[in-house]
């Protein structure tokens, strides 16, 4: 029994389940709520099964339909992709529970299919082992995300989503261009094969430039973040959560993968450029967040800042690769949980007060304690305060920066942390006070509150299982072996 159970093609299930789920939701909109929830639970179970498999047996390969490269599709799971899949499943679960009561009926039928398609795209993206599949999934993800972002139906939402769509299409096209150039030069799409054949020539440079820039645009690194804050702030809360937590991370994941496997062979200073832009993103994003008067915009700008931290790993990885990359991955995980929790909490506040103006929050700490707790716990992780996943990643990042005496980056991280505290407590401080103009509170269902708390709790719990999770990252040594660990 155990053997057959473990041999179940979990990876395929991860793609097919949400796909069929999404289609069925589309076909039977009246039961979409139940279908969607069941699907997401199935995805969660599959991710767990896959995790069990990978932890038990190491790196996982799967040839879809028995066809290998170049024509077949190959799935590949190592520690990095496993963690991405698991955090996706977790966030998906939280968001789905939240969405049960969030959307009105007419919106439920639009939300669930799109959301499950998005989940399909995400899972497929993390499972892909070749760059063209990465392109397809990236594009699918982008389209589903854009469609979801319009769900509020407001003018702002449409404009923001339009901008988002153009940006994401442009990014994908640049990426595709790069893929084409790579294929032309080296005759393969498989990442593993490419990494063997790769050599530095003018086509490779162009491909590198196009792919990096395309992905940077989709990851919303400063100054390419122009599309993110309006899109994330105007989307419905669960959608904002998914966009910030997962969609942005997916493109970063591709960048990380390609950088590690392929482009690391280029002798380049782009890592320093990335580090520089990341630093500016941290400061700029935090300052912008501090300026905002609306919670959702504040949280969205916070994402801009946090994305900056991810890019700090590039310059730091030069000498202490494993530590720096682990830090980045850890940050992806904890930020995914924390930021989704934060957006969900912001959604609750919006639902409760009918607005999300920070200055007009009315004693929400007493009236929505669980929501505020979720916001605060998520904030702890975002600020990088212990005990939380954010703290662990910040610790690792600081450590790798200090080992190399990168004082500039050290300073940026510290300032970023202080600024993060400033903007988070800007909200929390108002949670205790009375609003100048009291208003009729809306009803916030308990599931919505607890879903936010669940995710925030996850971000905090990540701070306690660092050694286990860092061990999982090492499966299949995605960051290369032989580097001296700290």
């Amino acid at each position: 029994m155990g053997i057959t159970f473990i041999d179940f093609p979990w990876a395929i299930a991860l793609i097919l389940l949400p796909l069929t789920g999404g289609l069925s939701c589309f076909l039977w909109p009246s039961v979409s709520k139940i279908l969607g929830l069941v699907t997401v639970i199935g995805v969660m179970l599959s991710a767990t099964g896959l995790g069990w498999l990978v932890i038990d047996k190491g790196v996982y390969h799967y040839l879809v339909g028995g066809w290998g490269a170049p024509l077949g599709i190959e799935l590949y799971v190592d520690g990095l992709s496993l963690l991405m899949l698991m955090v996706t499943a977790l966030v998906a679960l939280g968001v789905s529970i939240y969405s049960i009561h969030y959307f009105e009926l007419s919106y439920q039928r639009r939300f669930w299919p799109l959301w499950l398609f998005l989940l399909t795209a995400l899972n497929a993206l993390f499972l892909s082992a070749d760059i063209f599949n990465l392109y397809v999934t990236l594009e699918l993800m982008g389209l589903a995300a854009v469609a979801l972002a319009t769900l509020t139906g407001s003018h702002d939402a449409f404009t923001a989503a339009m901008r988002y769509l153009l940006a994401t299409l442009l990014g994908s096209l640049a990426f595709l261009f790069g893929v084409v150039l790579l294929y032309h030069s080296f005759g393969s799409l498989d990442i593993a094969v490419l990494s063997e054949r790769f050599e530095s020539n003018i086509t490779a440079w162009a491909a590198f430039g196009l792919i990096s820039a395309g992905l940077v645009l989709k990851t919303a690194l400063f100054p390419m973040h122009f599309w993110l804050p309006p899109a994330h702030a105007n989307a419905p809360a669960p959608v904002s959560a998914v966009l910030s937590a997962l969609v942005v991370k997916a493109s970063f994941y591709i960048l990380l993968r390609l950088w590690l496997e392929i482009f690391s062979q280029l002798d380049t200073d782009v890592d320093i450029l990335f580090g520089f832009l990341g630093s500016i993103a941290i400061i700029w994003g935090s300052l912008q967040a501090l300026r905002q008067t609306r919670i959702k915009l504040l949280v969205a700008y916070s994402t801009v800042a946090q994305v900056g931290y991810l890019f700090l790993a590039f310059p730091l990885a030069e000498k202490v690769g494993v530590t720096a990359w682990s830090a980045a991955v850890y940050l992806i995980l904890s930020h995914a949980l924390a930021k989704s929790a934060m957006f969900l909490a912001a959604g609750n506040l919006l639902r409760f007060g009918g607005h999300d103006r920070i200055a007009d929050l009315d004693r929400v700490a007493q009236r929505l304690p669980i929501t505020v707790a979720a916001f605060a716990l998520a904030g702890v992780s975002i600020m990088g305060l212990p005990p939380s996943g954010g703290f662990i990643s910040k610790w690792l990042l600081l450590q790798s920066a200090l080992v190399q005496s990168q004082w500039g980056l050290v300073g940026v991280m510290l300032i970023g942390g202080v600024l993060a505290a400033a903007y988070i407590f800007k909200v929390l401080g108002r949670a205790f006070t009375q609003a100048p103009l009291p208003h009729e509170p809306g009803v916030v269902p308990a599931t919505m509150e607890w879903a936010a708390l669940l995710l925030a709790g996850g971000a905090i719990l990540l701070g306690f299982f660092a050694s286990e999770i860092l061990a999982i990252i090492e499966i299949g040594s995605p960051f290369g072996a032989g580097e001296v660990k700290l």
Partner: protein, 499 residues
Amino acid sequence: MNWNAWIPLLVVASSLLPGLIIFRLPEERVRTRITLNLIGAFLKLVLVGWMLWGVYQGQHFETRLALLPDLDLVLRAGPLSLIFVSLSTVLWLVTTVYAIGYLENSPHRSRFFGFFSLCVTATVGIALSGNLITFLIFYELLTLSTYPLIVHRGTEEARRAGQTYLAYTIFGGALLLLATVWLYTLTGSLEFTPRGFIHGLGEEHRTALIIIFALFITGFGVKAALVPLHGWLPQAMIAPAPVSALLHAVAVVKAGAFGIIRVVYDVFGIESAAELGVMSPLAWLAAVTIIYGSLRALFQNDLKRRLAFSTISQVSYITLGVAIAGPIATIGGVVHLVHQGIMKITLFFCAGNLAETLGIHKISEMNGVGHRMPWTMAAFTVGALGMIGVPPIAGFVSKWYLGLGALEVGEGWVMFVLAGSSLLNAAYFLPILHRIWFRKQTAAWPHEHNFGNKETAWALLLPPVVTALMALAAGLVASAPFSPLEWAQLIAQREFYQP
């Protein structure tokens, strides 16, 4: 099964779990909340007593959980830890009783007691930390869990005080994080070791070490309210009295002072720190804080603000004792950790009683209040005289060892600081005592509550009287076994004399 490995964790959990449960309790379940609180407090007391006894007999209590691949979360009961743990445990029990009385019928008690328990958890965690990262974790937890208590009243003023508090502490925390990580990259260890663990580093790291030390002191100095990082403390007095009493007089500022002790003794080691030449600036900083705090206290008319500035001044005695860097001064500094806590909590309890029973907040309103509330004011008198250093109250013992320690290492100037500070203490406390006992009541009390023929509620009266008696006892039977002084001597012995 080795129980000793779990006791430190249990000590931490004994306030964490009740706290978490209390968060979810409905407001009206007063009795359940009180029971939970008291069970936690007593359990913690018993466990700490057990550890005290065990450590006295040479047993080891250590909990070790993996945090990062090569860094553990360590909770360990050493003599230094225990002196702080015992202080916070005993005072938690007392303050819980007090808070129950103080907050009777006020809103949001579940939230208050929940965060209160969290604060105690953090404080105990700080005390028991066996390495710097554990310390840091609990230190930040303390910052976060104190914030809701400061803004508890939910007024605009409270919110602003909370923001100020955070501005200071988050900044301090960032510096601490930097210092800790930096030290870790240099030494590869963060484990608290008697006499420090930086000996192996060569001369080339000297500058780095000095900067790290400065970062630590600045980081901890925020909570220890060293001038010029003290600005948050007087503002934080907006919080309810039990919070000011336990947290701002004991837990939070002590956490900072305790951090300085840890860094000097168990991270750098006295000898290495002295070699780096960082001790005398620290001593001067402490001296300036002592005098400055006392001077500012003179000008306050708000009772709690005066006490707050007094705290700023008094807590620096601890730093001073550490910075003088002799065995006897160490005893003085460490024992003042306990003594100041007991005395200052007494004073804050009494201030709270005045506010709660009679609505008195200003010193100018205190004329003749001794006749109305003799017991409370007797406790206040003991606390105030102890702060001045009047024998045989606890403060005398600390000042004694500080002065003696300074003489021992030939730092005569400290005597003048002590004398000046005592004089100033007298100048701002004795007028209050005079008003209390010898002036006639001039106006009606601002908001008098009636408690029958008693001066105030039992739960409000008992805690200050108990702590005042403790302050007296700490001085009178200073040489008894298990007294704070004896423990401080044990600690100093470990730091200075044992190989």
